[in-house]
Symmetry: C2
Subunit: 328 residues, 2 copies
């Protein structure tokens, strides 16, 4: 199966390394970063490209753009892993639309297009009889979309509760374990590479809320938006609040929850018993899916990391190959 | 899609109730219990059949056998939910072979055929271009097979660790929480309906070992047998052992583990830190899958129950419909 990859950040490079290192039957026929592109219908030499990127900072020919790759390369699946723009979803959404319109499948880790344009993109994909998959947008390596769409098929999902942001979970774990203040724990998260220089997006609960929007629209097809989510971050949490929770054998976690029957769509710090399945440590993510038949199913795993995100992308590509090879 | 169901115990009735109560597009065209059978290519009236079974103890016509249903009914998928015989796998294995040979898909919750004859049944299914699925055999409602086969596709599974028997987990949870002896906790488990009158199969670790065999053969295609598993049950565990674990902020759980690279295939009580993701309470099940790309993924959910098991079966049926509708 032929794939084209847009984006050579940590995730794009992770995908290239997996395709190169594993015998998955995947050939990379197109590739673009923000400055250049290259295509070869017989397969790009991955090691050479990774070395070139490392050495000179771009991967291919500066006269070839990402749009050229989407429109001209010979591929079955577009892997769209450019940076997320949570406000506009561009340029990723444009790339995805063009790929679908050419009759190609799309796999993305980009939260922007899926959080903002889910219904329109799914509708376009149905029209062109292709798949758009986005396992990597929520919960990193945790196959939550597969579980919702296939593993729990036939179930009605009543509610979801999740720890969807590893940065916040790391900070809260450290505050509880060591009695650190929020600022101390944030500093440690930065030093460990779990928090960005500007952590607003994570600690204010926005990243978790975007993922909650993606989950909600996947499950309930309701077309909710980020503005519909009631959001409280963790940046005002005190050491005292955590100590009080500890005294009751509880702890505090930033929980994203959606319960449509009660009108709940919210991200907020919540007190949970320490032995609650959702209470995971460090930068882990966890998602509980409450259903009418299967009861509560909880999934736990690494919520970030280039290799873990690449794993989710490869899983989507292989699923498309398996399901579409049979028919169209 | 037309389904035939063999077995009208708790699981068979659970499937019938779901098919009747939900608009899943499934029609039951054949049905058998141990004493009788019935078939109707236009669809059996489920409520009538459930009432008849309740009233007189059998579902259909005593001159029609389960074999008649397998061989003569008009169905796409056979749902095989007769009682497990862990020594011979019969009569279930015979039913499954006949259904596959007729070109029908099979979904089963029966551990016998899968633990004993996995490779042969898969080979037969491939020959006839049909699917055999068995999500319900391990972990009840937890979609572990879907996760292994699809969600984590492309990953190499390095190891699995699981709490695969809810009876043992309930007993251990109660021993730790209340300082009960093994005998006291077992009595409570019986009273709550979590343990059978003869609990040997559960408390000696045999049930967990059979599930470990099924998982191992699914993941690594190694064709291991129950005899290959090193098994220690929980029936010799003392209250003292649990108290010692508690003193170190740990607890004891019956863990099934397979690590092929180290030659490990074992069911045994293990001391785990209380905040370990696998440490779940009561009759829950939990499975950690260790992979080369996605890291460790843990799944938690109800390991038993007629509705939960029926959920896993329905998920398999719908997956077969989705994947096979496209092509053959």
């Amino acid at each position: 199966m032929k794939i084209a990859i847009l984006g050579m950040g940590a995730v794009g490079r992770g995908v290239l390394e997996l395709v190169d290192g594993k015998d998955l039957g995947l050939t990379v026929t197109g590739l673009a970063d923000s400055k250049s592109g290259l295509m070869d219908k017989d397969g790009i030499h991955i090691e050479e490209v990774l070395a070139a990127k490392q050495e000179r900072g771009y991967c291919g020919d500066k006269s070839i753009s990402a749009t050229d790759i989407v429109e001209q390369a010979d591929y079955d699946v577009l892997i769209e892993v450019t940076p997320t723009d949570a406000k506009t979803g561009e340029p990723a959404t444009g790339f995805i639309r063009k790929a679908i319109a050419r009759g190609n499948h799309v796999v993305t880790s980009n939260k922007g297009p899926i959080a903002l344009h889910y219904a329109a993109l799914q509708s376009l994909a149905r029209k062109h009889r292709v798949s758009i998959r986005y396992e990597a947008t929520v919960g990193g390596a945790i196959p939550v979309m597969h579980t919702l769409q296939h593993g729990l098929a036939g179930n009605r999902v009543l509610a979801i509760f999740g720890i969807l942001n590893g940065t916040c979970n790391f900070i809260l774990t450290r505050m509880a374990a060591e009695g650190l203040t929020y600022d101390q724990a944030l500093l440690e998260a930065r030093e460990m590479g779990y928090a960005e220089a500007d952590p607003t997006y994570d600690v204010k609960g926005i990243d978790a809320a975007i993922k909650l929007v993606i989950l909600s629209n996947t499950i309930w097809k309701r077309n909710v938006k980020l503005d519909d989510v009631e959001i409280t971050g963790i940046d005002m949490l005190t050491t005292d609040a955590l100590r009080l929770a500890e005294e009751q054998h509880c702890t505090i976690r930033l929980i994203a929850e959606a319960v449509p029957d009660r009108g709940v769509l919210r991200v907020a710090p919540r007190v949970l018993p320490k032995n609650h399945p959702l209470v995971v440590e460090g930068s882990l993510n966890a998602i509980t899916i409450e259903t009418d038949m299967a009861g509560e199913i909880t999934l736990i795993g690494k919520g970030a990391g280039s290799r873990e995100t690449a794993s989710a992308i490869i899983g989507d590509v292989l699923f498309i190959r398996e399901t579409h090879a049979r028919g169209h």
